[in-house]
Protein backbone atom coordinates (compact mmCIF):
# COMPACT_ATOMS: atom_id res chain seq x y z
CA UNK A 1 0.00 0.00 0.00
CA UNK A 2 2.73 2.43 0.97
CA UNK A 3 4.72 1.55 -2.14
CA UNK A 4 1.71 2.25 -4.35
CA UNK A 5 1.08 5.69 -2.95
CA UNK A 6 3.51 7.66 -5.19
CA UNK A 7 1.75 6.27 -8.25
CA UNK A 8 -1.38 8.28 -7.56
CA UNK A 9 -2.11 10.78 -10.32
CA UNK A 10 -3.95 13.24 -8.10
CA UNK A 11 -1.62 14.76 -5.54
CA UNK A 12 -4.35 15.09 -2.93
CA UNK A 13 -7.53 13.03 -2.84
CA UNK A 14 -10.80 14.89 -2.56
CA UNK A 15 -11.87 15.47 1.00
CA UNK A 16 -15.60 15.54 1.51
CA UNK A 17 -17.14 18.71 2.75
CA UNK A 18 -19.02 19.06 6.04
CA UNK A 19 -22.41 20.65 5.56
CA UNK A 20 -24.44 22.26 8.25
CA UNK A 21 -27.99 23.49 7.80
CA UNK A 22 -29.12 25.44 10.86
CA UNK A 23 -32.68 26.65 11.41
CA UNK A 24 -33.42 27.30 7.74
CA UNK A 25 -36.78 28.76 6.75
CA UNK A 26 -37.56 29.59 3.16
CA UNK A 27 -40.49 31.40 1.61
CA UNK A 28 -41.29 32.22 -1.99
CA UNK A 29 -43.32 35.13 -3.16
CA UNK A 30 -46.25 33.76 -5.11
CA UNK A 31 -48.46 36.48 -6.64
CA UNK A 32 -47.63 38.75 -3.72
CA UNK A 33 -48.51 36.09 -1.14
CA UNK A 34 -45.71 34.50 0.85
CA UNK A 35 -45.48 30.77 0.16
CA UNK A 36 -43.65 29.01 3.00
CA UNK A 37 -41.67 26.11 1.62
CA UNK A 38 -39.08 25.11 4.23
CA UNK A 39 -39.62 25.42 7.98
CA UNK A 40 -36.95 25.06 10.64
CA UNK A 41 -34.74 22.67 8.73
CA UNK A 42 -31.63 21.70 10.67
CA UNK A 43 -29.23 18.87 10.01
CA UNK A 44 -25.55 18.16 9.66
CA UNK A 45 -23.76 16.10 7.03
CA UNK A 46 -20.33 14.77 7.94
CA UNK A 47 -17.51 14.71 5.38
CA UNK A 48 -17.85 11.75 3.04
CA UNK A 49 -21.42 10.88 4.01
CA UNK A 50 -24.04 10.02 1.41
CA UNK A 51 -27.31 11.55 2.55
CA UNK A 52 -30.59 10.97 0.71
CA UNK A 53 -33.57 13.30 1.09
CA UNK A 54 -37.08 11.93 0.62
CA UNK A 55 -40.34 13.81 0.73
CA UNK A 56 -43.66 14.32 -1.00
CA UNK A 57 -43.63 16.00 -4.38
CA UNK A 58 -43.55 19.80 -4.16
CA UNK A 59 -42.51 19.84 -0.50
CA UNK A 60 -39.35 21.84 -1.10
CA UNK A 61 -36.57 19.31 -1.74
CA UNK A 62 -35.23 21.08 -4.82
CA UNK A 63 -35.43 24.37 -2.98
CA UNK A 64 -33.31 22.96 -0.18
CA UNK A 65 -30.70 21.82 -2.68
CA UNK A 66 -30.63 25.25 -4.36
CA UNK A 67 -29.94 26.81 -0.99
CA UNK A 68 -27.11 24.36 -0.36
CA UNK A 69 -25.69 25.07 -3.82
CA UNK A 70 -25.77 28.77 -2.97
CA UNK A 71 -28.01 29.62 -5.93
CA UNK A 72 -30.42 31.39 -3.57
CA UNK A 73 -30.06 32.72 -0.04
CA UNK A 74 -32.42 31.29 2.60
CA UNK A 75 -35.12 33.57 3.98
CA UNK A 76 -33.82 32.90 7.49
CA UNK A 77 -31.31 30.51 8.99
CA UNK A 78 -27.78 29.59 8.08
CA UNK A 79 -26.06 27.15 5.79
CA UNK A 80 -22.41 26.37 6.44
CA UNK A 81 -19.83 24.55 4.35
CA UNK A 82 -16.94 23.42 6.55
CA UNK A 83 -18.05 26.03 9.05
CA UNK A 84 -18.05 28.94 6.56
CA UNK A 85 -21.34 30.55 5.55
CA UNK A 86 -22.57 29.68 2.04
CA UNK A 87 -23.05 33.02 0.30
CA UNK A 88 -23.08 31.98 -3.35
CA UNK A 89 -22.40 29.16 -5.77
CA UNK A 90 -18.97 27.59 -5.69
CA UNK A 91 -17.29 24.88 -7.77
CA UNK A 92 -16.66 22.87 -4.61
CA UNK A 93 -20.43 22.32 -4.37
CA UNK A 94 -21.78 21.09 -7.70
CA UNK A 95 -25.23 20.09 -8.77
CA UNK A 96 -26.64 17.47 -11.14
CA UNK A 97 -30.30 18.00 -12.03
CA UNK A 98 -33.06 15.71 -13.16
CA UNK A 99 -32.66 17.20 -16.64
CA UNK A 100 -29.06 16.83 -17.74
CA UNK A 101 -29.22 20.42 -19.09
CA UNK A 102 -26.15 19.92 -21.20
CA UNK A 103 -25.42 22.95 -23.36
CA UNK A 104 -26.76 21.76 -26.72
CA UNK A 105 -24.32 23.91 -28.68
CA UNK A 106 -21.31 22.22 -27.11
CA UNK A 107 -20.01 18.74 -27.75
CA UNK A 108 -19.87 16.36 -24.80
CA UNK A 109 -16.17 17.16 -24.38
CA UNK A 110 -16.80 20.91 -24.34
CA UNK A 111 -19.67 20.49 -21.90
CA UNK A 112 -17.40 18.66 -19.51
CA UNK A 113 -14.80 21.39 -20.04
CA UNK A 114 -17.21 24.11 -18.87
CA UNK A 115 -16.01 24.35 -15.29
CA UNK A 116 -12.33 24.35 -16.23
CA UNK A 117 -12.99 26.98 -18.90
CA UNK A 118 -15.01 29.16 -16.58
CA UNK A 119 -12.21 29.16 -14.04
CA UNK A 120 -9.43 29.55 -16.59
CA UNK A 121 -7.91 26.14 -15.87
CA UNK A 122 -7.98 24.72 -19.39
CA UNK A 123 -4.23 25.09 -19.91
CA UNK A 124 -3.08 22.90 -17.07
CA UNK A 125 -6.01 20.59 -16.50
CA UNK A 126 -7.27 19.71 -19.97
CA UNK A 127 -6.24 16.06 -19.53
CA UNK A 128 -8.84 15.66 -16.82
CA UNK A 129 -11.69 15.95 -19.31
CA UNK A 130 -10.97 12.66 -21.03
CA UNK A 131 -10.41 11.06 -17.65
CA UNK A 132 -13.81 12.24 -16.38
CA UNK A 133 -15.47 11.00 -19.57
CA UNK A 134 -13.79 7.65 -19.12
CA UNK A 135 -14.99 7.52 -15.53
CA UNK A 136 -18.62 7.68 -16.67
CA UNK A 137 -18.05 5.45 -19.70
CA UNK A 138 -18.40 8.13 -22.36
CA UNK A 139 -14.83 8.15 -23.62
CA UNK A 140 -15.93 7.36 -27.17
CA UNK A 141 -18.54 10.11 -27.27
CA UNK A 142 -16.40 13.16 -26.57
CA UNK A 143 -17.18 14.64 -29.97
CA UNK A 144 -20.92 13.97 -29.96
CA UNK A 145 -23.54 16.67 -29.51
CA UNK A 146 -26.10 16.29 -26.71
CA UNK A 147 -28.98 15.60 -29.09
CA UNK A 148 -27.10 12.52 -30.23
CA UNK A 149 -27.09 10.99 -26.74
CA UNK A 150 -29.67 8.82 -25.01
CA UNK A 151 -31.10 9.98 -21.69
CA UNK A 152 -28.74 7.81 -19.68
CA UNK A 153 -25.69 8.96 -21.63
CA UNK A 154 -26.68 12.61 -21.28
CA UNK A 155 -27.01 12.17 -17.53
CA UNK A 156 -23.60 10.52 -17.41
CA UNK A 157 -22.16 13.48 -19.31
CA UNK A 158 -23.75 15.84 -16.78
CA UNK A 159 -22.13 13.80 -14.03
CA UNK A 160 -18.74 14.03 -15.76
CA UNK A 161 -19.23 17.80 -16.12
CA UNK A 162 -19.46 17.99 -12.31
CA UNK A 163 -16.86 15.36 -11.43
CA UNK A 164 -14.10 16.87 -13.57
CA UNK A 165 -14.00 19.75 -11.08
CA UNK A 166 -13.36 17.46 -8.11
CA UNK A 167 -16.39 18.73 -6.17
CA UNK A 168 -16.26 18.22 -2.43
CA UNK A 169 -20.04 18.10 -2.22
CA UNK A 170 -22.09 16.57 -5.02
CA UNK A 171 -25.70 17.71 -4.96
CA UNK A 172 -28.00 15.38 -6.88
CA UNK A 173 -31.58 16.47 -7.60
CA UNK A 174 -33.42 13.34 -8.76
CA UNK A 175 -30.58 12.67 -11.19
CA UNK A 176 -32.00 9.32 -12.26
CA UNK A 177 -35.65 10.35 -12.17
CA UNK A 178 -36.16 10.41 -15.92
CA UNK A 179 -34.26 7.27 -16.82
CA UNK A 180 -35.82 3.93 -17.63
CA UNK A 181 -35.72 1.49 -14.74
CA UNK A 182 -32.93 -0.72 -16.07
CA UNK A 183 -30.60 2.20 -16.79
CA UNK A 184 -31.50 3.56 -13.39
CA UNK A 185 -30.50 0.41 -11.54
CA UNK A 186 -27.17 0.39 -13.34
CA UNK A 187 -26.45 4.03 -12.64
CA UNK A 188 -27.33 3.71 -8.95
CA UNK A 189 -24.47 1.26 -8.63
CA UNK A 190 -22.15 3.47 -10.70
CA UNK A 191 -22.89 6.54 -8.60
CA UNK A 192 -22.22 4.71 -5.35
CA UNK A 193 -18.99 3.38 -6.86
CA UNK A 194 -17.86 6.88 -7.86
CA UNK A 195 -18.70 8.26 -4.45
CA UNK A 196 -16.82 5.50 -2.63
CA UNK A 197 -13.74 5.96 -4.78
CA UNK A 198 -13.67 9.76 -4.90
CA UNK A 199 -14.49 10.59 -1.29
CA UNK A 200 -16.83 13.55 -1.83
CA UNK A 201 -19.89 14.16 0.31
CA UNK A 202 -23.16 13.45 -1.50
CA UNK A 203 -26.61 14.92 -0.99
CA UNK A 204 -29.24 13.15 -3.07
CA UNK A 205 -32.89 14.01 -3.55
CA UNK A 206 -34.96 11.17 -4.92
CA UNK A 207 -38.59 10.11 -5.02
CA UNK A 208 -37.60 6.46 -5.03
CA UNK A 209 -37.38 5.06 -1.47
CA UNK A 210 -35.55 1.97 -2.60
CA UNK A 211 -32.98 4.10 -4.43
CA UNK A 212 -32.35 6.10 -1.26
CA UNK A 213 -31.93 2.93 0.81
CA UNK A 214 -29.61 1.22 -1.66
CA UNK A 215 -27.37 4.23 -2.09
CA UNK A 216 -27.28 6.41 1.03
CA UNK A 217 -25.65 6.13 4.42
CA UNK A 218 -28.47 8.20 5.87
CA UNK A 219 -31.98 9.11 4.81
CA UNK A 220 -33.71 12.39 5.75
CA UNK A 221 -37.48 12.40 5.42
CA UNK A 222 -39.30 15.70 4.89
CA UNK A 223 -42.99 16.28 5.53
CA UNK A 224 -45.47 17.94 3.18
CA UNK A 225 -45.01 21.66 2.36
CA UNK A 226 -44.01 23.69 4.31
CA UNK A 227 -41.44 20.95 4.82
CA UNK A 228 -40.08 20.03 8.22
CA UNK A 229 -37.60 17.31 8.93
CA UNK A 230 -39.69 14.37 10.15
CA UNK A 231 -37.01 11.67 10.40
CA UNK A 232 -33.27 11.14 10.15
CA UNK A 233 -32.58 7.43 9.58
CA UNK A 234 -29.12 5.89 9.33
CA UNK A 235 -28.81 2.98 6.88
CA UNK A 236 -26.30 0.68 8.53
CA UNK A 237 -25.41 -1.71 5.76
CA UNK A 238 -22.23 -2.29 3.76
CA UNK A 239 -22.14 -1.97 -0.05
CA UNK A 240 -23.19 -3.49 -2.32
CA UNK A 241 -26.60 -3.74 -0.75
CA UNK A 242 -29.43 -6.11 -1.52
CA UNK A 243 -32.83 -4.69 -2.08
CA UNK A 244 -34.50 -7.48 -0.10
CA UNK A 245 -32.20 -7.09 2.93
CA UNK A 246 -34.57 -7.25 5.96
CA UNK A 247 -33.05 -4.07 7.44
CA UNK A 248 -33.76 -2.14 4.25
CA UNK A 249 -37.24 -3.61 3.97
CA UNK A 250 -38.02 -2.52 7.51
CA UNK A 251 -36.68 0.96 6.81
CA UNK A 252 -38.75 1.16 3.68
CA UNK A 253 -41.87 0.32 5.64
CA UNK A 254 -40.99 2.91 8.23
CA UNK A 255 -40.49 5.63 5.58
CA UNK A 256 -43.76 4.79 3.86
CA UNK A 257 -45.47 5.22 7.21
CA UNK A 258 -43.77 8.55 7.75
CA UNK A 259 -44.94 9.71 4.33
CA UNK A 260 -48.48 8.62 5.16
CA UNK A 261 -48.45 5.86 2.56
CA UNK A 262 -48.43 2.81 4.84
CA UNK A 263 -51.69 1.58 3.33
CA UNK A 264 -49.97 0.95 0.00
CA UNK A 265 -47.50 -1.46 1.59
Amino acid sequence: MVAAAPLRRDPEPVVGLALEVAGVDHRFDLHGEPLPVLEQISFRVEPGEFVAVLGPSGCGKSTLLRLVAGLEPPTTGRLLADGAAIVGPDPSRLMVFQDPTLFPWRTVRDNVALGLEARGLMRGERHRIQKALGLVGLGAFAGAYPHQLSGGMAQRAALARALVNDPRLLILDEPLGKLDSLTRLGMQGELVGLWRRAGFTALLVTHDIEEALVMATRVLVLGPRPARLVADLPVERAYPRHRDDPHLVALRHRILELLGLAATW
Partner: protein, 338 residues
Protein backbone atom coordinates in the same frame (compact mmCIF):
# COMPACT_ATOMS: atom_id res chain seq x y z
CA UNK B 1 -24.48 -3.64 -38.71
CA UNK B 2 -23.88 -3.85 -34.99
CA UNK B 3 -25.54 -0.59 -34.11
CA UNK B 4 -27.39 -0.24 -30.86
CA UNK B 5 -30.17 2.28 -30.45
CA UNK B 6 -27.92 4.68 -28.60
CA UNK B 7 -25.17 4.63 -31.16
CA UNK B 8 -27.20 4.74 -34.31
CA UNK B 9 -27.47 8.52 -34.54
CA UNK B 10 -23.71 8.81 -34.67
CA UNK B 11 -23.27 6.45 -37.56
CA UNK B 12 -23.28 7.96 -41.05
CA UNK B 13 -26.54 7.30 -42.83
CA UNK B 14 -26.18 4.29 -45.05
CA UNK B 15 -27.43 4.86 -48.57
CA UNK B 16 -28.65 1.57 -49.99
CA UNK B 17 -26.65 0.50 -53.03
CA UNK B 18 -28.63 0.97 -56.22
CA UNK B 19 -29.22 -2.30 -57.96
CA UNK B 20 -28.82 -2.17 -61.72
CA UNK B 21 -26.88 -3.34 -64.71
CA UNK B 22 -23.52 -2.59 -63.13
CA UNK B 23 -21.34 0.47 -62.85
CA UNK B 24 -20.35 0.81 -66.52
CA UNK B 25 -22.97 2.43 -68.66
CA UNK B 26 -25.99 3.62 -66.71
CA UNK B 27 -27.63 6.33 -68.78
CA UNK B 28 -29.48 9.01 -66.91
CA UNK B 29 -32.88 9.08 -68.56
CA UNK B 30 -34.01 12.40 -67.07
CA UNK B 31 -30.85 14.09 -68.29
CA UNK B 32 -31.25 12.66 -71.78
CA UNK B 33 -34.84 13.86 -71.97
CA UNK B 34 -33.96 17.35 -70.72
CA UNK B 35 -30.99 17.58 -73.10
CA UNK B 36 -33.14 16.55 -76.06
CA UNK B 37 -35.74 19.18 -75.15
CA UNK B 38 -33.09 21.91 -74.89
CA UNK B 39 -31.66 20.95 -78.28
CA UNK B 40 -35.23 20.99 -79.59
CA UNK B 41 -35.86 24.43 -78.15
CA UNK B 42 -32.67 25.64 -79.84
CA UNK B 43 -33.73 24.17 -83.19
CA UNK B 44 -37.16 25.74 -82.88
CA UNK B 45 -35.65 29.11 -82.09
CA UNK B 46 -33.30 28.93 -85.06
CA UNK B 47 -35.66 27.44 -87.64
CA UNK B 48 -38.80 29.43 -87.04
CA UNK B 49 -38.28 33.02 -88.28
CA UNK B 50 -38.97 35.82 -85.82
CA UNK B 51 -42.09 37.90 -86.36
CA UNK B 52 -39.98 40.96 -85.76
CA UNK B 53 -36.24 41.25 -86.20
CA UNK B 54 -34.87 40.47 -82.79
CA UNK B 55 -31.16 40.56 -82.22
CA UNK B 56 -29.33 37.54 -80.83
CA UNK B 57 -31.90 34.97 -81.94
CA UNK B 58 -29.15 32.82 -83.39
CA UNK B 59 -27.00 33.18 -80.32
CA UNK B 60 -29.91 32.12 -78.14
CA UNK B 61 -30.55 29.11 -80.35
CA UNK B 62 -26.87 28.18 -80.23
CA UNK B 63 -26.73 28.52 -76.43
CA UNK B 64 -29.82 26.32 -76.02
CA UNK B 65 -28.45 23.70 -78.38
CA UNK B 66 -25.00 23.62 -76.79
CA UNK B 67 -26.49 23.38 -73.29
CA UNK B 68 -28.78 20.59 -74.48
CA UNK B 69 -25.90 18.73 -76.09
CA UNK B 70 -23.90 18.88 -72.86
CA UNK B 71 -26.88 17.55 -70.95
CA UNK B 72 -27.20 14.69 -73.41
CA UNK B 73 -23.51 13.94 -72.87
CA UNK B 74 -23.94 13.86 -69.11
CA UNK B 75 -27.07 11.77 -69.59
CA UNK B 76 -25.16 9.19 -71.61
CA UNK B 77 -22.27 8.92 -69.19
CA UNK B 78 -24.59 8.93 -66.19
CA UNK B 79 -22.96 8.41 -62.82
CA UNK B 80 -19.51 8.28 -64.40
CA UNK B 81 -19.43 12.10 -64.53
CA UNK B 82 -19.23 11.99 -60.73
CA UNK B 83 -19.90 15.18 -58.83
CA UNK B 84 -21.57 16.94 -61.77
CA UNK B 85 -24.09 14.13 -62.06
CA UNK B 86 -24.73 14.17 -58.32
CA UNK B 87 -25.55 17.88 -58.53
CA UNK B 88 -27.74 17.57 -61.61
CA UNK B 89 -29.64 14.37 -61.00
CA UNK B 90 -32.37 15.97 -58.91
CA UNK B 91 -32.74 18.82 -61.37
CA UNK B 92 -33.99 16.81 -64.35
CA UNK B 93 -37.68 17.76 -63.88
CA UNK B 94 -36.73 21.43 -63.55
CA UNK B 95 -34.52 21.29 -66.63
CA UNK B 96 -37.34 19.71 -68.61
CA UNK B 97 -39.94 22.24 -67.50
CA UNK B 98 -37.56 25.15 -68.12
CA UNK B 99 -36.87 24.00 -71.67
CA UNK B 100 -40.59 23.74 -72.37
CA UNK B 101 -41.33 27.11 -70.75
CA UNK B 102 -38.56 28.79 -72.70
CA UNK B 103 -39.87 27.33 -75.95
CA UNK B 104 -43.43 28.47 -75.21
CA UNK B 105 -42.20 31.94 -74.26
CA UNK B 106 -40.07 32.16 -77.40
CA UNK B 107 -42.94 31.11 -79.66
CA UNK B 108 -45.52 33.33 -78.01
CA UNK B 109 -43.43 36.50 -77.97
CA UNK B 110 -40.77 36.30 -80.70
CA UNK B 111 -42.39 34.05 -83.28
CA UNK B 112 -46.12 34.80 -83.08
CA UNK B 113 -46.03 38.22 -81.43
CA UNK B 114 -49.06 37.25 -79.33
CA UNK B 115 -48.35 39.46 -76.30
CA UNK B 116 -48.51 43.25 -76.20
CA UNK B 117 -45.23 45.04 -76.85
CA UNK B 118 -43.16 46.57 -75.39
CA UNK B 119 -44.19 45.14 -72.04
CA UNK B 120 -43.19 41.63 -73.01
CA UNK B 121 -39.75 40.75 -74.20
CA UNK B 122 -38.60 37.44 -75.72
CA UNK B 123 -35.72 35.41 -74.22
CA UNK B 124 -33.21 36.76 -76.75
CA UNK B 125 -33.90 40.29 -75.47
CA UNK B 126 -32.47 39.21 -72.08
CA UNK B 127 -29.43 37.91 -73.90
CA UNK B 128 -29.15 41.21 -75.71
CA UNK B 129 -29.21 43.16 -72.45
CA UNK B 130 -26.63 40.95 -70.78
CA UNK B 131 -24.32 41.01 -73.80
CA UNK B 132 -24.67 44.66 -74.82
CA UNK B 133 -25.30 46.34 -71.46
CA UNK B 134 -23.65 43.72 -69.27
CA UNK B 135 -20.85 45.97 -68.13
CA UNK B 136 -23.17 48.61 -66.77
CA UNK B 137 -25.42 45.99 -65.21
CA UNK B 138 -22.43 44.42 -63.50
CA UNK B 139 -21.32 47.82 -62.21
CA UNK B 140 -24.81 48.42 -60.86
CA UNK B 141 -24.92 45.01 -59.21
CA UNK B 142 -21.53 45.71 -57.69
CA UNK B 143 -22.65 49.13 -56.40
CA UNK B 144 -25.80 47.61 -54.89
CA UNK B 145 -23.80 44.86 -53.29
CA UNK B 146 -21.35 47.32 -51.74
CA UNK B 147 -24.10 49.51 -50.33
CA UNK B 148 -25.96 46.49 -49.02
CA UNK B 149 -22.88 44.91 -47.49
CA UNK B 150 -21.81 48.03 -45.61
CA UNK B 151 -25.32 48.88 -44.40
CA UNK B 152 -26.26 45.34 -43.47
CA UNK B 153 -23.05 44.56 -41.62
CA UNK B 154 -23.26 47.79 -39.62
CA UNK B 155 -26.92 47.12 -38.87
CA UNK B 156 -26.34 43.50 -37.92
CA UNK B 157 -23.53 44.37 -35.53
CA UNK B 158 -25.48 47.25 -33.99
CA UNK B 159 -28.68 45.21 -33.70
CA UNK B 160 -26.89 42.25 -32.19
CA UNK B 161 -25.10 44.40 -29.63
CA UNK B 162 -28.29 46.23 -28.73
CA UNK B 163 -30.23 42.98 -28.48
CA UNK B 164 -27.69 41.37 -26.16
CA UNK B 165 -27.52 44.48 -24.01
CA UNK B 166 -31.30 44.81 -23.70
CA UNK B 167 -31.74 41.10 -23.08
CA UNK B 168 -29.01 41.00 -20.46
CA UNK B 169 -29.08 44.25 -18.53
CA UNK B 170 -32.11 45.61 -16.76
CA UNK B 171 -30.78 49.14 -16.91
CA UNK B 172 -30.30 48.99 -20.68
CA UNK B 173 -33.72 47.34 -21.08
CA UNK B 174 -35.33 50.15 -19.08
CA UNK B 175 -34.16 52.74 -21.60
CA UNK B 176 -33.84 50.61 -24.71
CA UNK B 177 -37.13 48.75 -24.65
CA UNK B 178 -39.42 51.80 -25.03
CA UNK B 179 -37.22 53.19 -27.80
CA UNK B 180 -37.28 49.88 -29.64
CA UNK B 181 -41.04 49.68 -29.24
CA UNK B 182 -41.50 53.13 -30.66
CA UNK B 183 -38.99 52.99 -33.51
CA UNK B 184 -39.13 49.29 -34.34
CA UNK B 185 -42.46 49.16 -36.17
CA UNK B 186 -41.73 52.29 -38.21
CA UNK B 187 -40.84 51.34 -41.80
CA UNK B 188 -37.24 52.39 -42.38
CA UNK B 189 -38.28 54.12 -45.60
CA UNK B 190 -40.28 56.60 -43.52
CA UNK B 191 -36.91 58.05 -42.48
CA UNK B 192 -36.00 58.65 -46.10
CA UNK B 193 -36.60 62.43 -46.23
CA UNK B 194 -34.80 63.04 -42.94
CA UNK B 195 -31.93 60.74 -43.85
CA UNK B 196 -31.27 62.38 -47.21
CA UNK B 197 -31.41 65.77 -45.55
CA UNK B 198 -29.28 64.91 -42.51
CA UNK B 199 -26.52 62.90 -44.14
CA UNK B 200 -23.76 64.46 -46.24
CA UNK B 201 -24.32 62.12 -49.20
CA UNK B 202 -27.13 60.00 -50.51
CA UNK B 203 -24.80 57.01 -50.18
CA UNK B 204 -24.26 57.49 -46.45
CA UNK B 205 -27.98 58.19 -46.00
CA UNK B 206 -28.74 54.90 -47.70
CA UNK B 207 -26.21 53.06 -45.56
CA UNK B 208 -27.96 54.47 -42.51
CA UNK B 209 -31.39 53.41 -43.74
CA UNK B 210 -30.27 49.90 -44.61
CA UNK B 211 -28.46 49.59 -41.29
CA UNK B 212 -31.53 50.77 -39.42
CA UNK B 213 -33.86 48.44 -41.29
CA UNK B 214 -31.69 45.40 -40.67
CA UNK B 215 -30.74 46.31 -37.11
CA UNK B 216 -34.29 46.25 -35.76
CA UNK B 217 -35.24 42.63 -36.44
CA UNK B 218 -31.77 41.54 -35.39
CA UNK B 219 -32.09 43.49 -32.13
CA UNK B 220 -35.59 42.22 -31.34
CA UNK B 221 -34.79 38.57 -32.01
CA UNK B 222 -31.42 38.67 -30.28
CA UNK B 223 -33.11 40.23 -27.29
CA UNK B 224 -35.86 37.62 -27.20
CA UNK B 225 -33.24 34.91 -27.63
CA UNK B 226 -31.14 36.18 -24.74
CA UNK B 227 -34.16 36.79 -22.52
CA UNK B 228 -35.50 33.31 -23.22
CA UNK B 229 -32.38 31.37 -22.27
CA UNK B 230 -33.21 28.49 -19.93
CA UNK B 231 -32.25 29.77 -16.50
CA UNK B 232 -30.91 26.32 -15.60
CA UNK B 233 -28.00 27.02 -17.98
CA UNK B 234 -27.06 30.02 -15.87
CA UNK B 235 -27.41 28.00 -12.64
CA UNK B 236 -25.09 25.33 -14.04
CA UNK B 237 -22.53 27.84 -15.23
CA UNK B 238 -22.62 29.81 -11.99
CA UNK B 239 -22.02 26.76 -9.82
CA UNK B 240 -19.12 25.86 -12.13
CA UNK B 241 -17.50 29.19 -11.33
CA UNK B 242 -18.57 31.34 -14.30
CA UNK B 243 -18.03 35.09 -14.21
CA UNK B 244 -20.74 37.45 -15.56
CA UNK B 245 -18.61 37.87 -18.66
CA UNK B 246 -18.58 34.10 -19.18
CA UNK B 247 -22.35 34.00 -18.65
CA UNK B 248 -22.89 36.54 -21.44
CA UNK B 249 -20.32 35.33 -23.95
CA UNK B 250 -20.40 31.59 -23.37
CA UNK B 251 -23.97 30.97 -22.21
CA UNK B 252 -26.41 33.72 -23.23
CA UNK B 253 -25.07 34.42 -26.71
CA UNK B 254 -24.59 30.83 -27.91
CA UNK B 255 -27.97 29.85 -26.51
CA UNK B 256 -29.58 32.79 -28.35
CA UNK B 257 -27.91 32.07 -31.71
CA UNK B 258 -30.87 30.25 -33.30
CA UNK B 259 -33.00 33.35 -32.66
CA UNK B 260 -30.22 35.65 -33.80
CA UNK B 261 -30.12 33.92 -37.17
CA UNK B 262 -33.86 34.35 -37.64
CA UNK B 263 -33.29 38.06 -36.96
CA UNK B 264 -30.35 38.20 -39.36
CA UNK B 265 -32.50 36.62 -42.07
CA UNK B 266 -35.38 39.03 -41.51
CA UNK B 267 -32.95 41.93 -41.37
CA UNK B 268 -31.44 40.90 -44.69
CA UNK B 269 -34.87 40.83 -46.33
CA UNK B 270 -35.63 44.28 -44.92
CA UNK B 271 -32.27 45.50 -46.20
CA UNK B 272 -33.13 44.39 -49.76
CA UNK B 273 -36.32 46.38 -49.88
CA UNK B 274 -34.74 49.48 -48.39
CA UNK B 275 -31.81 49.15 -50.78
CA UNK B 276 -34.03 49.21 -53.85
CA UNK B 277 -36.09 52.13 -52.57
CA UNK B 278 -33.01 54.13 -51.60
CA UNK B 279 -31.44 53.55 -55.00
CA UNK B 280 -34.63 54.51 -56.79
CA UNK B 281 -34.96 57.73 -54.85
CA UNK B 282 -31.49 58.99 -54.10
CA UNK B 283 -28.42 57.04 -55.09
CA UNK B 284 -27.35 57.40 -58.71
CA UNK B 285 -26.08 53.84 -59.05
CA UNK B 286 -27.11 50.30 -58.34
CA UNK B 287 -29.79 47.92 -59.51
CA UNK B 288 -32.61 49.98 -58.04
CA UNK B 289 -31.43 52.96 -60.01
CA UNK B 290 -31.08 50.78 -63.14
CA UNK B 291 -34.64 49.54 -62.72
CA UNK B 292 -35.90 53.09 -62.39
CA UNK B 293 -33.88 54.20 -65.40
CA UNK B 294 -35.08 51.29 -67.53
CA UNK B 295 -38.67 51.99 -66.66
CA UNK B 296 -38.24 55.67 -67.54
CA UNK B 297 -37.04 54.71 -71.03
CA UNK B 298 -39.65 51.96 -71.40
CA UNK B 299 -36.73 49.56 -71.77
CA UNK B 300 -38.67 46.67 -70.37
CA UNK B 301 -36.19 44.01 -71.37
CA UNK B 302 -33.51 45.85 -69.38
CA UNK B 303 -35.88 46.02 -66.45
CA UNK B 304 -36.60 42.31 -66.46
CA UNK B 305 -32.94 41.52 -66.91
CA UNK B 306 -32.03 43.75 -63.95
CA UNK B 307 -34.81 42.20 -61.89
CA UNK B 308 -33.40 38.76 -62.57
CA UNK B 309 -29.94 39.92 -61.49
CA UNK B 310 -31.42 41.43 -58.34
CA UNK B 311 -33.22 38.19 -57.55
CA UNK B 312 -30.02 36.23 -58.03
CA UNK B 313 -28.03 38.64 -55.85
CA UNK B 314 -30.62 38.49 -53.05
CA UNK B 315 -30.99 34.74 -53.22
CA UNK B 316 -27.22 34.27 -53.19
CA UNK B 317 -26.85 36.48 -50.15
CA UNK B 318 -29.58 34.62 -48.29
CA UNK B 319 -27.89 31.38 -49.32
CA UNK B 320 -24.61 32.67 -47.93
CA UNK B 321 -26.27 33.60 -44.65
CA UNK B 322 -27.76 30.12 -44.41
CA UNK B 323 -24.36 28.59 -45.05
CA UNK B 324 -22.91 30.60 -42.17
CA UNK B 325 -25.81 29.55 -39.98
CA UNK B 326 -25.34 25.89 -40.87
CA UNK B 327 -21.76 26.14 -39.67
CA UNK B 328 -22.57 28.03 -36.48
CA UNK B 329 -25.59 25.92 -35.61
CA UNK B 330 -24.25 22.48 -36.51
CA UNK B 331 -25.42 21.38 -33.10
CA UNK B 332 -29.08 21.91 -33.99
CA UNK B 333 -30.97 19.17 -35.71
CA UNK B 334 -33.61 19.59 -38.37
CA UNK B 335 -32.36 22.86 -39.85
CA UNK B 336 -34.22 24.34 -42.81
CA UNK B 337 -32.08 24.22 -45.93
CA UNK B 338 -31.97 27.20 -48.33
Amino acid sequence: MTVTGELSTLEPAVVPERTGTGPWLQPWVGGLAAGALWVGAGALTAAWPDADDWAYTRELAAAEAVGGALLVLVGLLGSRTGALFERLRNLAPWLIVLALALAVWEVAVAKLNLLPRPFFAPPQAFLEVYLDDGRRLAECAFASFGLLAVGYLLGAVAGFTAGVAIGWSRAVAYWGHPLLRLIGPLPATAWLPIAFFAFPSSWSASVFLIALASAIPVAVLTWSGVAGVNSAYYDIARTLGASPRFLVLRVAIPAAMPHVFVGLFMGLCMAFSVLVVAEMVGVKAGLGWYLQWAQGWAAYANMYAALLVLALVCSTLVGLLFRVRDRVLVWQKGLLKW
